[in-house]
């Protein structure tokens, strides 16, 4: 099993993701440079947080034209696991691997704080070890995390169970209009979604910042451990097949 962490020139959470996977959960992990044209040999790919190419135009807008994203696109369509965190989520949206778009936070300010998200679907490779409705404390740090999509897309997301995480109160209550419980004003308090096939997930909160209690929370571990477990299961299936 091998994780890859993509490095765009303006990625700045790449080291953090690498640390979480390598040093904390002890899985093999390597960086993938944004000019790479292929990503073979990896079982899961993480698009980390940061400012990919400066993001002066729109967050993630230019990253989708990079060579590595063409490779990631092929990897995802072949069923590989792709996790986009913060800027990585924004890139997945721009690249069309996930539906919708990010708007500026409702308060128009950058927000860095611990938030609570409720796990809405545990039937994904990213949440299989979580309890249904489990509330995770994970920090956010972004200016554009206000998720938006049109009504048709929204109902499709709801119908297909593609909404994976929603912002919530510490008790797990979702309240779209409450700025404390839905800090950036996201539509339906959406914090993370998947594609139809559930092998691509993007979320605004930073699970890689929530893997050690000494830094405030270890609730993000469940996401990485779920990935490890589902990859292990896949490997076993492949062997027995």
């Amino acid at each position: 099993m091998k994780f890859g962490v993509v490095q765009f020139p303006g990625s700045n959470c790449d080291d953090d993701a690498h640390h979480a996977i390598g040093a904390v959960i002890g899985q093999p992990v390597e960086f993938i440079w944004h000019q790479s044209e292929q990503v073979s040999g990896f079982d899961a790919i993480i698009l980390p947080g940061g400012f990919s190419y400066g993001d002066y135009l729109r967050t993630g807008a230019l990253a989708r034209f990079s060579p590595v994203m063409r490779a990631v696109d092929r990897f995802a369509r072949a069923g590989g696991l792709v996790l986009g965190i913060c800027n990585g989520f924004q890139i997945l949206l721009e690249a069309g691997l996930l539906p919708g778009a990010m708007m500026r936070n409702q308060g128009l300010r950058f927000l860095c704080r611990q938030v609570h998200v409720r796990v809405e679907n545990t039937d994904t490779p990213f949440t299989c070890r979580a309890r249904a409705g489990q509330v995770l404390q994970i920090p956010i740090a972004h200016m554009e995390g206000n998720y938006f999509c049109d009504a048709a897309t929204l109902s499709e997301l709801e119908r297909n169970g593609q909404i994976i995480f929603r912002y919530a109160t510490p008790e797990g209550r979702v309240d779209e209009r409450n700025r404390e419980a839905n800090p950036n004003g996201s539509l339906r308090a959406i914090a993370g979604i998947s594609n139809r096939e559930r092998n691509v997930v993007g979320l605004m909160p930073h699970p890689e910042r929530a893997v050690e209690l000494a830094l405030g929370s270890a609730d993000g571990l469940v996401i990485f451990r779920s990935m490890v477990e589902s990859l292990t299961r896949r490997g076993a299936e492949r062997v027995s097949a």
Binding site: G10, F110, L111, P139, M143
Partner: protein
């Protein structure tokens, strides 16, 4: 914009317009043995400006202690360096960007952060944290003058006028821009902004202070210095292209007072590009690892000029550069403009001859310009070529090191402005201290700064163990080491105004005490000295006094100064700011697991006041407190007497208690006194309150509850540890007085057996937490 005509023959008149005195101009003529040409004059004017040459401060800065067992590099390089064990060094420095932040708050603050980050990674260190020390004019209408003796109080205040609504709006606008600018730069660059402080005084209304501190980590053997070596080695320019940004920006802005006129002729404001800086960081660190780089320096104020002449001067060599080869963003730039440009995100490197390609490859990998623009020479000259002609030729050492030095006249100001007031002169009988407490908690200086700090990414790089508001100082773990670093900035301008020497000592002591409250031992310091016009004898006296205060305190607390910066001419329309020395103190925790926060941890824990002793409660100093200012509109007297030996005892005691895990939280007593200290330890906790009895002292209740004498900290511990904590404190000569316990619900402070403050903790928290957002939400 129009280009600057450089074919002008230089006259003493033109030299004067460049801010050079007749004597300075004569000295230039003597150094060159001829008249300078216009370009050379421009180069001298920036290099010999106050900002670059420290001409008014150098004679005083020599009195600061700058050496110690851990100091690897003191002042004189891009940043200070201290040994933190495990083969690692900490590289840190604080720097001001006051004037640019007034002209354009967003870009001024952003480029301030960019500049200090470059100073850190220029030395081969990866930045791991930024702190910002900010001072603004009032953002809310302040305290009303007390009803009794109102006339006297008003007379004693330096800025007695209630600010007009439009002033408040403007101050909020400046704060908003500065905060956005800091966030914009640091968040994109990927360095956590982990702390700092924000204070408000009328004197900063037209001259905000934006001091940014950056901290980085390197392996000791990987340090880089800005010292040119090896005649014949290529000089390489890397990073952003040169434009006409901020010509005479930092250097002249920071070397003259603001007037209405200077506001009108705003220079081209430098614009920050944090993405470019991030690329430059990665490229520089990677290029350094090739081993092909000999020396490196960032281009800050006076860009190409200062970087080339300083690198040459430090190495005892010369540098020749050809401006025609400099990457340019604009067309038809003159040598004068290119040499003085303050375009951001640029670096000058000296590489080993024959290995240029390795360096270029790294920069090109990161998509950056990197071109050879010249070479190191053995003749000691800064020689600048342009279009095949020599545009300037100046001895590098003369430019960088032989600038004028002044022993400027000094005079203590007339004492009347700060005559002390006895508490009974302004306190009212039967005042409702609970209500006053609530108002104090909501005053901008005391109120929660969360509205500001949540706009900064304080967690990126996943090292932040204690971020903004979580402890007395920020605590950063070091991956791959058991150790952690703690860091804090502080400086009370009001105290600096009332008594510059004691105020400066308090700035050192409070930063060090804050660091020790996390359990870290203070090991080194950096300072940013913000003062008015040094040509005024009173300002120069304040500066000299502050230097003596810092020197004495840093010696006593064993925190040598490793670098920093001086910012003079912080005046607008003839009014100087309060003398504001800001101290950044770095501490080392041997075991990161022992790091303490300031919040109470469990219901029923004992609350103990640790007191290093020394001077008495000092009711006579109460007129200088935050409470006197916020509630009674009084700014008078002198700061509390400071006893450095008592501070040292307390620091040593706190480090020991934390190391032995004998206590669970620690929070120093400072602005707002015991009441605010206790409340803050509740606010950041999981809903706890406190019930304490301060006993009886020889002071009015208000002074006992809100007085700000130093050398004290409030700690909490399991009741079972009381005896042990008492014994450890006794070893250090520190008094450990149990004053109460951690509770839930009601927050209560008794004095002389009578409750003087009581109320539900949630209502106090609300007053404290919401006030800044309410004042600034619409900014």
């Amino acid at each position: 914009m129009a280009t600057i005509n450089t074919d002008i023959k230089v006259t003493p008149q033109i030299a004067a317009e460049h801010g050079l005195t007749a004597e300075e101009y004569a000295r230039i003529q003597k150094i060159l043995g001829r008249d300078p040409n216009f370009t050379e004059l421009g180069v001298f004017s920036v290099m010999w400006s106050e900002h670059c040459s420290y001409k008014s401060s150098r004679v005083h800065l020599k009195r600061l202690p700058t050496t110690g067992p851990r100091v690897v590099q003191g002042p004189g390089e891009n940043a200070g360096v201290v040994d933190i064990g495990d083969g690692l060094v900490a590289v840190f420095k604080i720097e001001s960007h006051n004037h640019p932040s007034f002209v354009e708050p967003f870009q001024g603050a952003a480029t301030g952060v960019g500049g200090i980050l470059r100073d850190i990674f220029t030395m081969g260190a990866r930045p791991i944290a930024v702190l910002d020390s900010l001072r603004f004019g009032p953002i809310t209408s302040g305290a009303k003058a007390p009803e009794s003796k109102a006339g006297q109080a008003a007379r004693l205040k330096p800025c007695p006028d209630e600010p007009a609504a439009e002033e408040l709006t403007r101050n909020r606008h400046i704060l908003d821009g500065v905060v956005r600018g800091i966030g914009f730069y640091g968040n994109c660059f990927g360095v956590p902004t982990v702390g700092g402080e924000v204070m408000f005084e009328p004197c900063y209304a037209n001259n905000p202070l934006v001091n940014a501190l950056a901290l980085g980590i390197a392996r000791r053997e990987e340090l880089f210095f800005a010292r040119a070596q090896g005649a014949g080695n290529p000089v390489i320019y890397a990073g952003a292209k040169t434009g006409r940004d901020g010509i005479h920006g930092a250097s002249l802005l920071a070397s003259a007072e603001f007037s209405e006129e200077s506001q009108q002729k705003r220079p081209n404001v430098q614009v920050g590009d944090p993405f470019m800086e991030k690329l430059l960081l990665e490229a520089c660190l990677e290029a350094m690892r090739t081993g092909a780089i000999v020396a490196i320096q960032d281009m800050g104020a006076a860009g190409l000029t200062s970087s080339s002449s300083e690198m040459a001067s430090r190495g005892g060599l010369g540098i020749e550069i050809d401006l025609t080869r400099v990457p340019q963003r604009e067309t038809a730039m003159t040598p004068y403009e290119m040499l003085l440009s303050e375009s951001q995100e640029r670096m000058l490197l000296v590489a080993e001859r024959g290995r240029e390609r390795e360096v270029f490859e790294v920069f090109h990998k990161w998509g950056l310009d990197a071109v050879e623009i010249g070479r190191v020479t053995g003749d000691g000259l800064l020689r600048v070529l342009h279009d095949g002609r020599v545009a300037a030729e100046i001895p590098a050492h003369a430019l960088a090191e032989e600038g004028p030095r002044y022993q400027r006249p000094m005079a203590a100001p007339k004492a009347s402005a700060t005559a002390p007031m006895r508490p009974e002169d302004f306190l009212r009988e039967g005042a409702d201290l609970t209500e006053n407490f609530r108002r104090l908690l909501a005053s901008p200086a005391i109120a929660s700064k969360y509205w500001i700090t949540e706009q900064y990414d304080s967690m990126v790089r996943t090292n932040t163990r204690r971020g903004p508001g979580a402890g007395d100082a920020a605590v950063l773990r070091l991956k791959g080491s058991k150790r952690a670093l703690a860091i804090k900035t502080d400086g009370n301008g009001r105290w600096g105004f009332l008594a510059p020497r004691a105020g400066a000592m308090h700035a050192v002591a409070e930063s060090a005490r804050n660091v020790a409250c996390t359990g870290a031992r203070p090991i080194a310091a950096t300072n940013c000295l913000n003062f008015g016009n040094p040509e005024k004898p009173e300002v120069m006296w304040q500066f000299s006094e502050a230097i003596d205060g810092i020197a004495e305190a840093c010696r006593a607390l064993e925190t040598p100064i490793t670098g920093g910066n001086v910012s003079f001419y912080n005046e607008t329309l003839g009014k100087p700011i309060y003398p504001t020395p800001v101290l950044g103190v770095l501490g080392l925790l041997e075991d990161a697991e022992c790091a303490l926060g300031s919040a109470f941890c469990h219901e029923g824990d004992a609350i103990v006041l640790l007191d290093g002793g020394g001077a008495s409660a000092g009711a006579e100093s109460f007129s200088s407190s935050e409470y006197a200012k916020a509630i009674h509109g009084v700014v008078a007297g002198a700061p509390p007497a400071i006893d450095l030996a008592a501070e040292k005892r307390l620091i040593d005691c706190l480090v020991q208690l934390a190391g032995e895990r004998a206590i669970l939280s620690a929070h120093d007593v400072s602005d707002g006194g015991m009441a605010v200290t206790l409340a803050e330890s509740c606010f950041d906790s999981e809903g706890f309150a406190a019930d304490v009895d301060l006993g009886a002292q020889d002071a009015p209740a208000e002074a006992a509850v809100f007085g700000e004498r130093g050398a004290r900290a409030v700690v909490s511990l399991s009741p079972a540890s009381l005896a042990r904590v008492g014994a450890i404190a006794a070893q250090y000569g520190v008094k450990a007085q149990p004053i109460g316990r951690v509770t839930r619900g009601e927050f209560r402070i008794q004095y002389r057996g009578v409750p003087v403050i009581r109320g539900m903790i949630d209502s106090f928290r609300q007053a404290w937490s919401e006030s800044l957002g309410k004042a600034l939400g619409s900014a």
